[in-house]
Symmetry: C2
Subunit: 430 residues, 2 copies
């Protein structure tokens, strides 16, 4: 090691992802091994991502982390597992410019500072922990010069948050369950989890027609955390194992095929059915778990009615462990019509500014011919709706985010993007 | 037959019922054969029942029916099937007092007038068709002197509306799926349905501690009819068959045991889990079916929290094809506390009269110390609720009905209770 004053930093940006074939249920709680494969689409980091700066310095006397500017504890088992796995794989690092040399063995003694920031509300149920753990693992792997490939890194991120493993890639990503080993007694025994990892099915260019609109839905309920919910489902739902063993394996094959072939009809049918089945398993849990609310149900009903009126799916919906709708439109034209419909049914409150009501790729708003409240008020009744049921629900959606499938983690070499001060290694805002 | 002027009438009253192990899915749409056994509790006809008067006269020139005073068509297949089945079993009838004699063969030519009245709102999702078809079959069987026993009659009522077969008995009732026959090709073949009928498990005196409170929940959605919903679930849900074949058979055995032993903990656990699983199958249907709404979810959450805080179930909940909650309290003391909690969370609107907000057995209201709005406003926060979540939802419940397990169909010999004029055979109100 060189002089005691240096700070070595890496900054990276990692996307969030949304599952189209859902992960619900662990077969191993510590290793975070799932009961079934899952498939996700990575969301454009321009609109939803985590940025993380990791720093190492001989002057740091303990591992510390700041999330969105606030220091948080790294004491939890999930952080500890990730840090341990990464440190054990760390390699020699040399920065000749700065005159820094860290040997493999030094990493066990050196402490880390980590600062992480989400460009979207953490509490909104938008998979912030997935992007967060993926970014932590990815940036530390760069800092410590790990030789592992993205899939191998995904198996480490998985131990922080299951779905984080899918955020190591852009496009469409499959999280492979991993092998179960058959031992002589004929009981299934689980592996060590190293084969439960993510692989990229196709990159973000493969199906770039797709447009994604997220409705962040207002909720008065406190939701069950997905960790708790999953555990209770595994313990009490009599449908979960049937889903994991009989239903999902077939859907995974069909979904991969639909993605390869840009077959939107199959893609939408599978995505919607699998979201609904995941929520069905939640309802079959004791006590039952309700993530969707009346607003979620309404959005589903509108989409189903529209799809049926056209005769083929135009929009797919999927809901994670919360009431937010993630709507995937087959192309930009449909996305424009979708946004018009959403704003027709869920206009902003009079005190809400349109600019803070539709976030992300605002060009879709302009394509939809909407520049202000007057344009929303002038939106026509969608033709598939009888006027009787054309009630409007102002205030039931907090805001919309327009986005698209996006790329995987990237390094940000521009130092101005770093969240830690390159001298002190402390948060810039602090 | 005697002179042309006579009218022969029978009036009967039949209860409604609520399933505690649910019927969802037919294996034969015409015969109405279910995919699994179900178990129900019959509700006290004092609070929820159908009264039906059936009349025969040589002066009638066609079969006619009036429901709640309004003439309706008897052309539907379900009415036709019931009428055909009953006529084919009709026997000689003699009323020496009135000098009327009808021979078996005459029934094929004689026309019927039927008037039916529910003592509860038909559209409120309270199994009005179950009570209605049961009453139709029971009263016609009396009029036409059928020799069949109640179970055999239930197999006829079943062809009008599946769950109607369970309204032929009081207490707890099991609707038996009926045998599937194994034919040489190893494919299961269905029987003619004569063995798909209801049997009484225990009468209404067996477990007379139970008190039932129904919350009739306001809904802005038009609901999928149970006939349509069931068909779509059978066609599209990948969980329904697993439920029918693997889950329900075990629950039926456990539920019969719980009922025999007055084991409220098991009874409540099974009732709640089975209601939730039925709604899970609805959600797993394409397009998904939502019968419960946010108010239903809230009621479940309150009950679950209360049960957990006590350490054992005090109240069971079950929901049919709509948002209404049927809450079964283990005894009258718990029912009183339940009603207090319900009125705390769901107080009536200021313009609603308490007398029309709590219907049925109002003595529970008095036991709860509630005589007016002031008493509701003074209700304390239930101890299991943190003040943070103590939001009140005035207007989300239309009204409550307090009732209990009740008896089966009865004949009303008092002519003043008849709905048809004994001279004209036309509705009294008309």
């Amino acid at each position: 090691m060189a002089a005691e004053k240096w700070v070595l930093m890496v900054t990276a940006q990692t996307p969030t992802n949304i599952a189209v074939i859902k992960y619900w249920g662990k077969r191993d709680e510590t290793l975070i091994l799932p009961v079934n494969d899952s498939i996700s689409v990575t969301l454009d980091p321009d609109h939803l991502c985590t940025t993380t700066t990791v720093a190492v310095s001989p002057s740091f006397d303990q591992d510390r982390m700041w999330l969105n500017g606030k220091e948080i504890s790294l004491g939890g088992g999930r952080y500890q597992n990730c840090l341990k796995e990464i440190r054990s794989r760390a390699c020699d690092v040399e920065d000749t410019e700065k005159g820094i040399k860290i040997e493999k063995k030094d990493w066990q003694k050196l402490h880390l500072h980590i600062a992480s920031f989400n460009n979207f509300p953490t509490a909104a149920g938008l998979a912030s922990s997935a992007a967060g753990f993926a970014c932590l693992v990815f940036s530390l792997a760069k800092l410590m010069n790990l030789k592992e490939n993205q899939s191998q890194l995904s198996a480490i991120a998985r131990q922080g948050s299951g779905s984080a493993c899918r955020s190591l890639f852009g496009g469409f990503v499959k999280w492979i369950l991993g092998k179960l080993m058959l031992v002589p007694s004929q009981h299934l025994q689980e592996g060590n989890g190293s084969d439960s990892l993510a692989v990229q099915l196709v990159d973000e260019e493969h199906w770039n027609d797709l447009v994604i609109i997220i409705a962040v839905v207002s909720s008065r309920q406190k939701e069950t955390s997905s960790t708790t919910g999953m555990r209770e489902s595994v313990e009490t739902s009599l449908l979960l194992q049937h889903r994991a063993k009989e239903v999902v394996p077939k859907r995974i094959v069909q979904m991969e095929e639909a993605i390869q072939n840009h077959d939107f009809s199959s893609f939408a049918q599978l995505t919607c059915a699998d979201s609904n089945q995941f929520h069905a398993v939640c309802l079959d849990t004791s006590p039952p778990i309700f993530y969707m609310n009346d607003t979620s149900h309404r959005i589903i009903s509108y989409v189903e009615r529209w799809n049926r009126s056209v005769g083929s799916p135009q929009v797919a919906y999927t809901f994670d462990a919360g009431p937010n709708a993630v709507l995937i439109a087959r192309n930009r034209k449909i996305a424009t019509e979708l946004l018009q419909r959403l704003l027709f049914f869920f206009p902003p409150n009079s005190e809400t500014d349109l600019n803070s009501y539709v976030l992300g790729d605002k060009s879709i708003l302009h394509d939809a011919g909407i520049d202000g409240m007057k344009d929303i008020e002038a939106l026509p009744l969608p033709p598939e709706i009888n006027s009787i049921s054309a009630q409007k629900y102002s205030g039931d959606v907090n805001y919309f985010i327009c986005t698209r499938p996006g790329g995987g983690p990237v390094l940000l070499s521009d130092d101005s993007k770093a969240l830690l001060n390159p001298k002190s290694g402390l948060p810039k805002e602090a």
